[in-house]
Subunit: 234 residues, 4 copies
Amino acid sequence: MFNEFLFELLGTFVLVAIDGSIAANLLWKGSANEGKGSLPLGAVGAFLAVTLGVTLAALVTGGHINPMFTVGMLLNGNITLTSALLYISGQLVGGFLGALVVAFYYRQNRLATSPELQVAPLAGVPEAPRYLHDFITSAVASTFFAGFILLVVSFNLGSLTPTFVGVGVATSILAFSGTSGAALNPARDLGPRLVAKLLGAKNVALVYGLVISAGSLLGGIVGVSLVQLLINLI
Amino acid sequence: MFNEFLFELLGTFVLVAIDGSIAANLLWKGSANEGKGSLPLGAVGAFLAVTLGVTLAALVTGGHINPMFTVGMLLNGNITLTSALLYISGQLVGGFLGALVVAFYYRQNRLATSPELQVAPLAGVPEAPRYLHDFITSAVASTFFAGFILLVVSFNLGSLTPTFVGVGVATSILAFSGTSGAALNPARDLGPRLVAKLLGAKNVALVYGLVISAGSLLGGIVGVSLVQLLINLI
Amino acid sequence: MFNEFLFELLGTFVLVAIDGSIAANLLWKGSANEGKGSLPLGAVGAFLAVTLGVTLAALVTGGHINPMFTVGMLLNGNITLTSALLYISGQLVGGFLGALVVAFYYRQNRLATSPELQVAPLAGVPEAPRYLHDFITSAVASTFFAGFILLVVSFNLGSLTPTFVGVGVATSILAFSGTSGAALNPARDLGPRLVAKLLGAKNVALVYGLVISAGSLLGGIVGVSLVQLLINLI
Amino acid sequence: MFNEFLFELLGTFVLVAIDGSIAANLLWKGSANEGKGSLPLGAVGAFLAVTLGVTLAALVTGGHINPMFTVGMLLNGNITLTSALLYISGQLVGGFLGALVVAFYYRQNRLATSPELQVAPLAGVPEAPRYLHDFITSAVASTFFAGFILLVVSFNLGSLTPTFVGVGVATSILAFSGTSGAALNPARDLGPRLVAKLLGAKNVALVYGLVISAGSLLGGIVGVSLVQLLINLI
């Protein structure tokens, strides 16, 4: 049981440490690649981070590293309540710790950045939050992503499963990132946002983070349920 | 039988929803990546969209999600008339529904775009249509792509089959997109073009869409026939 | 025997038709992506073209689609003289026919380009030829590539073999293309150069093409021999 | 025993010859792609170079081609002292020889570059060395990379193992290269730096190379130990 907690923590830790470090490399002041960010690079970074994180977690658990997928699986009876709680707490702690690695590895670059712009590599902040709109887009994007993960998991792709989950997240980013919101993983958002707050960043938008995370959870439930229906059809 | 219809519909739905959303992210006004489109990004987007769509459809059907390939297979006796009709109607409906997702997910960005430029993420519009030229280029490009798909399907690559079909579409785009036309999939064109029309876009070029779709169908017949000949040689 | 000739022809045909079309899309006047060429795009194009060509040829032959590799295999006793001659003649004819597809698919764009610049998508032309220098660089680059192919073939990677050969060509391009020359495949060079000449291009540099092709053949012999030595060591 | 030395040498030779040539293509004066370097291209180049090098070495050895991983494995009792010494001496010699290929393949471009800028494709030189900071960042980056390699090796991924190690190095570069330092492989650094010195480059920063290599070795020990702990947990 402790291992379930530990490996979901480790997988999410790797996901956030890698994805956040790539973003910091592209965003924080004075880093070697400041200002070189782009849509494909963001998608590739998320692909690598998710693939590695899932690979690590899946040694012991189902390799969720994402509360919206875990909640979807729980409500469809695919995982016990005890496991779900262990998974989710591991994910939230792992996200928090991964963000600490980003914040301290790029410490000099973070401190050289104005407090208003320190949040970005850790969690998304909209120029003007549209709560309802972004709740919906996060739900739609997460519906697609959660359904995709469940399909992949159902295929028994063996050692290629994490790679396909990574492809799913990269695809979701390419397709759904154009309008703000489109959150895909509450553990990638909440812990890192808290780290930004604790380290003195401004405009952390905690309420906004909770709203799009809630949208994401809704999407997880819808996506898993829809694909479960499809699988039963076959 | 209903499942054949449903899964070709679902696969084509995913193909158009993803490929169209990526294009909308790059083209419609005010999206986060407006104006950042490029040849490689278009090829990668199509690769991901086709790979995911084929993966989904292939759970139940042959994973065509493309009327030109289905018609080619029908005329070469590789699929029954009933199945072909179920496949094609599923594909056309799926393309229509996928385009609706794009249109509503990026609704605010679409409405901010001038009506003349709203068609682009949904279906290609030439500056000055060259009907015969583009009928021929669509036929040539589809010949290559259809022949490629049949080769891939003949290899029994298992869970890698959809990935290779995706590689084929990306390659076709890189090689054949330089001169206007080069349509590869009537279901990616017709339903989405109709959606654009219904939602008030200007310059929808429905006739042009029918011409290049006809070219694509011809290419599907030629490509499948040629590769069938080759396979019989071996 | 006819099939050996035919499938080496078909594989090389696909290689040149795809790789050349991608280059034409990026270089010839008025194509949708004119002037957007880049080192990574060239490497990716060659990767796709070689992977598809090898996949097709390997249905029947060893999937060489490259005279420098065939000559290296012949001199190391890995293929009979009869097969080698069938392979090489198929490769040269296939390269010629593939270049015709490029020239006619992008006919309007080719004719809009000045005759001095029409050669580029079909075969490389240096600003100021350095015959000895480029003979040597072509030999070094081909040594690496030929040795790499033989290693890959020896691994029995099954359906992934063509993909790895494609990775080898992409890597060679990234590493060795910086100084002019570095020809990797005489069939990719000679037939297409002849097509350019026949269709009225200027500055076709036929002698230069023969010099770097000779360098490439030398590299094929060296590379295959060195790796054969290594394989015998293990 | 000689084969262990030889194949670690050959693998590291390929790694440095390819990775260094790609960098020279992008950095040295007058090469076809001078000034076109970018973060993704550097990551892809390292991915290809490491994947090919590991593939070659792994025919005979464990495919380390990296002293920091070998030292980590030695201190955790996963390899004998004799093998470790053979591996490491092969790696150092291979790195030296690989850098010679780069220096002579791009000889004209190197000589056209000012002596202060000749080091860059061979080994990293900081604008203003921060010895302690870069010792630490190299240790952190190498901890991640070494742990990742050990996980991958433990999975028995067969012919895909080298590809995954290549993914690990690309990910490490994307995530950790933003702040100077972040050395991942002493054999990629020390021999090439010595070659630069011997061929007359200025600002070779030998002491800096030793400091970040020591950081990397420390990271190798920590990373292998941590993952060994995890593996014992499962």
